[in-house]
Amino acid sequence: MNRALGLGFLAFLVSIPFWIGDQYLLHILINAGIFVIGAMSLNLLLGYTGQLSLGHVAFFGIGAYTSALLSLGFDVTTFWGGELVVGPQPVWLSFLAGIVLAGLAGWFIGRISFKVRGAYFVIITISFAEVTKLVALNWVDLTEGPMALISIPPFSVSIPGIWEATFYGKTPNYYIMLAIGVVSYIVIKRLVNSRLGRAMVALRENEPLAMSVGIDVTRYLVLAAVVSAAIAGAAGGLYTHYVRIVDPDVFLFIYTVTMVIMVITGGKGTLAGPIVGGIIFGVLPEILREFMGPEAQWVTYGAVMIAIVMFLPEGIVPALTRFWERRKESRDASDRMITGRAASSATETPSE
């Protein structure tokens, strides 16, 4: 049933560009989709390993900057004095490089930060994101700093010398987003349903116990961080080649918070949670925009976040699932009761 629901939802998503004529709406959906991918990757850490990483935007930004820089080409004076010149690379290659570099950053930060837990971990991840932001802001030779990298080429496919297509439009970008989203979903799903995913959940629930049965905790955490960072990097690359401009604002802490809100609202530790939360908080701003300014919107988000953590701590998806199951159970139970009563009354009548 779940599978059918998932495929039905996917078919619905695929059909959207056919009946939505409004390009602006499509733009909103692409943006929401990019955030959903980011939220899915965060969920791997936050939901499955239970580590609250508040530096997630760093991986998104690293993916975005790497992909942008490689596709534009750059030259930079290296620390040892030489000059490094890289010509413009094909977009798909830059995109992959962005994923790889984000994954490497995830490995590095995982190696460092998983020595500590709880509050220390949260703060070290925030620090990492702030440092990457300051580097993007100050390494003007490479990143242009606040002047931003502009005219980044969009995604394209080509058979060299014969045929080439460059995707400027909303519709192709929507499908690219959807494809990357589906691939990310499948990767995460396979990961959490594997032995590895069970190990992650085990260490989330009880780390000492997980260690005592021989789970190499740090190794699994680092692996989760690498996959999570790589997917966030993919979202960053997607963003960069869609919007075609990137500045240090991609590292804003508020984006990490947005992803956290999406995961928490939808339900951390569930596959569908970040998608539900991401769609709600990706589309909600556009609806709310009619009624209130951005500050009021953010005040509302903050309040919603507090309310959800306090009153619906598991998030929407688990709550709905439970509601559904309970309803089914009570329906079954009442069915049983009715038939039971009928049966007993049937046996009782003769004795009277």
Partner: protein
Amino acid sequence: MDQLLQHLINALILGGTYALLGIGLTMIFGIMNVVNFTHGELYTFGAYMLFFVVMVLGLNFFVSLAVAVVLGIILGAAIEFTLLRPIRGANIDTTMLVMIGAWIVMQNSEQWIWSGIAKSVSTPFPSDPLVFGPISVSYYRVFVFAAAILLIVGAHMLIHRTKLGKAMRATFQDSDTAALMGININRIYTATFALGSGLAAAAGALLAPVFVVTPTMGNIAALKAFAIVILGGLGNFKGATIGGFILALVEEFGAGYISSGYRDAMGFLLIIAVLLFRPTGLFKQAERIG
């Protein structure tokens, strides 16, 4: 050499307010086990309240400082009462998320109320600097330093010389036993949060005339406070005081001799390094506050 002295003086003066910020945060963490993301917003709140009372209501500057601190204490108590009390005993991630939510609400409310335009506050101090040979310091900065030291000593006395402080230390050591001994734990938590918030508001109000007041000024302040607390060890009062000065030194010399663009990165690199090599902070983990 002259430049070195000047950096040293600047670091000392900056360190006082950093220490104030760090102490408030470390107390709240140590006693309540709450990572307080609203700390930076209380810093901002203090600055705006000073601006409001001095520039809008037109009261005396020193009275306004006191008013800002008292309002910070009240706001802190209100946050503790409405947000933290209902989720007492929840795990640290839950409280952290609630505090992040509160932080977003507060910051955007400030932006909403005051708009994004930076505000400046004038002081009754003369604007020309005090000059000692090669170094110069503004009168107001000297006042900030003195006030910060006074507040730090005051907080220290409160923790070590009063009954409330004794109850706080008892709660820090073992909250269950403290409760059994008849200490009203809930009241201690509220008092701790209010005191920490008051110190943050004081830091914000003191620095408002030095910098300008903006709705987002609290973000970097909060991150620095986290850095200081990590340097000193979570829950370590003395560690936070010294950590504040260390961070100020590293920033000042980093900005002066390496690159001013990376000034704010120094603190983060420092905590990454500390967590790598001495995860429990530079000082021995405090067994009790003090």
